[in-house]
Amino acid sequence: MKSWPLYEVFIRSKAGLHHKHAGSLHAADPEMAIENARDVYCRRNEGNSIWVVLSSDITASNPAENEELFDPAEDKIYRHPTFYEVPEGVKHL
């Protein structure tokens, strides 16, 4: 018999925060994945909202292409406030 598909589990620990990846688990369908995620990842009030998504539906960037993907941001220090000079005595900048 084919085994149950793998789901990735995301949990929001409290209202106002992002859902965060907690781990993965197998389940027959998404409803069961949520029920299992409650038992596996929320035994101690770790969350108040659960997302599950089939692992096979996630498209991930390739670490071998990290240079092309992330390096362009590296030399753009002018995107940070510390790049700019603030004249002495000027406030609220």
Partner: protein
């Protein structure tokens, strides 16, 4: 880039304490070592439920029962975190289960000892979980990200396991002479197997050097074993029971306890399948898996049926 450059780049990352993630390049031996170690760890959590499950219905009070139940549930959860971490290395869950059932994969030998009395629940929490925590804390900084993250979660949850065990021991030791004798008997039976949990002596440990180089292992077996003994000796004094080792003695000069020789013949015999409960544990696992087959099939059929209904509805619209 040739393979030597890639390998040295990998080692450089580890030396700089940069975590390795599932899609990163890694040497095949690193992958295989992790699959072996993490799955063995997962199997230990799963098989580890059996000796304690034996006592849930006979816990002496509701307080003890809910604690033991919660502990066993945690172990199921910990097994699942670890199976998921193993699967990120490119092996399927079914294959892992199959390796456990066929005896190809090992689990911690400690679970091949029987739980004869209620005091064993105390000794297991105190000693077995105590040893597990010492082993696991350094793994929170393991070079492989998914394993390290699972360990952080596990360590957070497990500190209650050790405490509830010690509380059971403490209560028995303050009880009647018969209860205290029961606690002493449990200590006598679990002490040496708990020390064996750290594995063979460093000189005989085949994986230690490479695992340390790869940042999988941070301390050696002997270092951790010494920590365990230094931790437990004063705790046994508090309980007023005696660790069954005539050579156990504080060594002022070393700043550690000296201790007697472990029975390594027993260690290897249990590893090779000749412990008191090896067969019973595996049989129980296989039976649970086979008895659950119809549930897995029914859930799969139900999921397929629902999927079909949704498709038919969509088509009707």
């Amino acid at each position: 880039m040739n393979i030597i450059d890639i390998e040295s780049g990998f080692q450089e990352k580890i030396d700089k304490d940069i975590r390795i993630e599932p899609r990163d390049w890694m040497p095949d031996n690193y992958r295989q070592t992790l699959i072996r170690q993490i799955s063995q760890h997962a199997h230990s959590e799963i098989v580890g439920m059996l000796p304690e499950g034996n006592w849930i219905t006979r816990a002496p009070s509701l307080r003890r029962k809910v604690a033991l139940l919660a502990k066993v549930q945690d172990e199921a959860g910990h097994g699942l975190y670890l199976y998921s971490a193993t699967e990120t290395l490119g092996i399927e869950r079914d294959e892992l289960i199959e390796q456990l059932h066929s005896g190809k994969a090992k689990y911690s030998s400690i679970f091949n000892y029987p739980t004869l009395t209620w005091a064993d629940m105390g000794a297991i929490g105190w000693l077995v979980d105590g040893a597990a925590i010492l082993n696991q804390i350094p793994l929170c900084r393991c070079s492989y990200g998914p394993y390290a993250r699972a360990m952080v979660r596990i360590c957070k949850e497990e500190s209650f396991h050790q405490r509830q065990g010690f509380e059971i021991m403490d209560t028995l030791c303050k009880g009647t002479p018969a209860q205290k004798a029961m606690a002493q008997d449990a200590l006598n039976r679990w002490w040496w197997p708990s020390l064996m949990m750290f594995g063979p002596k460093d000189a005989e440990s085949t994986h230690t050097a490479q695992s340390q180089k790869w940042g999988i292992k941070r301390f050696t077996n002997d270092d951790l074993r010494q920590k365990m003994i230094d931790m437990c000796a004063p705790q046994a004094d508090h309980l007023g029971i005696t660790i069954p080792d005539p050579d156990l003695k504080w060594n002022e000069e070393r700043g550690h306890y000296d201790f007697g020789e472990i029975n390594w013949d027993e260690f290897w015999a249990v590893v090779k399948g000749h412990g008191p409960c090896n067969k019973e544990r595996l049989d129980a696992r296989i039976k649970a898996w086979e008895d659950g087959a119809w549930v897995r099939e029914a859930a799969t059929a139900y999921a397929a049926k629902k999927e079909n209904q949704i498709m038919t509805k969509t088509q009707a619209v």
